[in-house]
Symmetry: C2
Subunit: 464 residues, 2 copies
């Protein structure tokens, strides 16, 4: 089987230094706690952590594939209206598994894919200027059905569809992904008879990529949803063991916790040596930041916890961030995403006379240069005492990406136990949301609006 | 004049707290040092910091516009072969000033633009599968002419062009941007007679966006290079004063230094509340990281300096990073990029019967929601004692973007003086480069290769 591998040699004190790296004795010492954390998480599989079972949702998968077959060839575009956990997984899958030029020349009769994960009028307005709603399938994704951004976009595009196609016909251009029972979107589905899929209970936004939230858009543009689930299921099986040396999710969680809490490295860099895997870093950034970034510990005490995720791309960021990574503060650790076998072979021609300085490149493959630069950077990081591990993908395909997604989800759930925070809520986004409601004049938020107005700075400091 | 404005009210102790915010007395106290730093930087305008004068390079601009006129309508694609400072400025300009769907439907007879800033064979190989070199102009950008990534790509595409078009004809498909005198690329220009532009002395990669490095690709796809320079020139004039309250670059540099060095906030988040401005954050990430991320101070002592730049996009990242930003460790400060006037107006229709929960959205503009969310997030950050400033763009155009670019370049130069590091070198990228050369078997690096092989871990730790 083509397993992804975790090489954590360079996170250890032996490779970097005792000040910067993890001692094997610390990993051993942490093992019982981590094992307990793993078991606690897995025990919630049938209760509130239903996302653990998504790899086995064969029935949902068949429904998705049936729906895709039923609309095949009908639409030039698929537009996802969703944000955060309803968008980042889809963007990551599309970047990893489709051509970067898919939208320029969609293969076969597949549609283009757009993820409108912002309400910037310049983004939405430009889309409307360039494409036609009547050629488009809109996948509206919101578990709660109350997300202001997504609902606004839904109202905008529903109206555009109805004006073009009429009330009856517009319905076949919308497919909803939302809660099975509750919320405005489910209500609309009942009323209008839109096609719909379910975000199951126990599947929070950032743990939803392997539900219809991520699988439906992926399958609509021809990605292999079945292989994604298969890869995830294999990772699930691998991660049932509490033996640290066999469980990559558990080991990764322990490394993250030790390197931040015992070695003072609060910044976690996902450094993708693959252009195709780069948006996995954005997906993981949400997963890590929202899950572990918490003010309160489990007993209600202030902890202000959480690593800061950063995404980098190799070799690109060797010419942007590596100067800081190698010479700056010792406040970062690194996860390189590495691909053994690219899909393309590009030969570098001989430079010819007059270009002797480039002779070392001639006759080599671009992939050799790519790998040499990756290894060169890894060596430089290690010699500068910057802890780094490597996740090795045998190749970039749905099977390996499914493994990665599940491994990181499980790992972050284990981190929640190690950090002592609730990895599955997000209380910190409420304050901004409520203030925005108040500023929009939403009913019930008048008092908050009054407070905001009263608190406006009397002496603002502005240059210009 | 449409000036960009710096509102730093919420970076002050009064707005957040004395623990987290800057005291006005600290700014006053820092003023003489900052004024000296500004004057030291500006005094190098005619010496080694020639990038300060780029806004006035009218002759170069005319050459660029003449060249663009001469190739107008000839190419379907422009491909930039460059990396780091030869790519990030162009990507930022293209995202900010062209439509996000420019490549889907280039306006008029303008070409599409691709920036191939990686040697991942899956990126380069996919481009070759989808597009035709013989319809393409390649802009090869490297000051030194020795960048391995760029030179490899040049060899690949030169060969493809010659095979399609022959030796004579291929030449008109390549335009070089490189040093005036030295390096392999300049040598090739002399030999082959390629069109070429100059990266002037005293213009390092990350300070080169307003040179032909950034201006030529921008002008080729119809962006207003003249207005960029005009905006930059106006910012230059604004920033000659040493009065803190009038000089946004100087104030911004002081805020960065005080918030990291006196308040322990090492992470600098550029939070763009504009989809179009989002890649300015990537451009700034290089500028800040490579300039200030330094092991050695000016006297050769170990300092391990440097803030870590992070890029976020609003409202998108409210659903991904804001949980961490509001509740996580007090280790970040924020620069919001805000746009007063979007180019598009998108009306949100009335939700109609049964959707009363969405009534607060109906009849409003998408831009109102966008601004309410931005202000809501700013309020939430401030109430959580997270220092934040806002750079207000009256609108997104070449004039405002030119101001921003110059302001940040000057600001980072001043930061170099405050942090006591050389802001204009990048010694930390050498180690990885040399290791990569050794691994590629380049002549002269045999000893290093031997060292690397001898240092290979005897007991690698791998799961899988």
């Amino acid at each position: 089987m083509d397993q992804i591998r975790l090489d954590y040699t360079n996170t250890l004190a032996d490779a970097v230094s005792p000040e910067r790296g993890v001692l094997e004795s610390e990993l051993k010492e942490l093992q019982p706690r981590a094992a307990q954390a793993l078991q606690d998480v897995l025990a919630r599989r049938d209760k509130d952590l239903r996302w653990l079972d998504l790899p086995y949702a064969d029935e949902e998968l068949e429904q998705i594939l049936d729906y895709c077959a039923s609309v095949k060839g009908r639409f030039k575009n698929v537009v996802v209206l969703g944000i955060g956990g309803s968008a980042l997984g889809t963007i990551a899958l599309f970047t990893a598994l489709a051509s970067p030029y898919h939208n320029d020349a969609p293969p076969g009769d597949l549609p283009r894919l757009f993820v409108l994960d912002n309400v910037d009028p310049d983004l939405v307005g430009e889309w409307m200027e360039h494409f036609h709603p009547e050629e488009t399938l809109f996948n509206v994704i919101s578990k709660s059905g109350g997300t202001a951004e997504t609902m606004s976009q839904f109202l905008v595009f529903r109206d555009a569809l109805i004006r073009k196609l009429g009330q009856a016909e517009h319905r076949s251009h919308i497919v909803m992904t939302t809660d099975a029972e509750n919320g405005v979107l489910r209500e609309i589905v009942r009323k209008e008879g839109y096609a719909s899929f379910v975000v199951p209970d126990g599947v929070g936004g950032r743990f939803s990529v392997l539900s219809p939230v991520g699988l439906l858009p992926a399958a609509l543009v021809g990605l292999d949803a079945r292989a994604l689930l298969q890869g995830a299921a294999e990772m699930d099986q691998r991660c049932k063991t509490t033996a640290m040396e066999d469980n990559p999710a558990m080991t990764y969680a322990c490394l993250q916790w030790l390197l931040q809490e015992r070695r003072g490295q609060p910044i976690a860099v996902t450094f993708s040596y693959s252009n195709r895997l780069k948006n996995l870093g954005d997906w993981y950034a949400q997963l890590l930041a929202e899950s572990i970034g918490k003010r309160k510990g489990k007993n209600g005490e202030d902890v202000f916890a959480g690593p800061t995720p950063v995404r980098a791309v190799g070799v690109t960021d060797q010419h942007s961030q590596v100067q800081l990574y190698v010479e700056g503060p010792h406040d970062k650790w690194f996860t390189l995403l590495s691909v053994e076998q690219a899909d393309h072979v590009v030969q570098i021609p001989q430079p010819g006379p007059g270009l002797e300085d480039l002779a070392y490149l001639g006759g080599r493959r671009l992939g050799e240069l790519f790998h040499a630069e990756r290894d060169g950077t890894r060596i430089a990081l290690t010699e500068a005492q910057r802890a780094n591990c490597t996740l090795v993908f045998p190749k970039v395909d749905a099977h390996s990406v499914g493994q990665y997604l599940y491994m990181m989800e499980l790992s972050v759930a284990i981190m929640g136990e190690l950090y002592g925070v609730d990895a599955f809520d997000q209380p910190g986004v409420e304050a901004g949301k409520i203030a925005a409601y108040a500023l929009m004049g939403r009913e019930g938020y008048e008092a908050r609006r009054g407070e905001i107005e009263a608190a406006a700075p009397k002496n603002p400091k502005i240059i210009g």
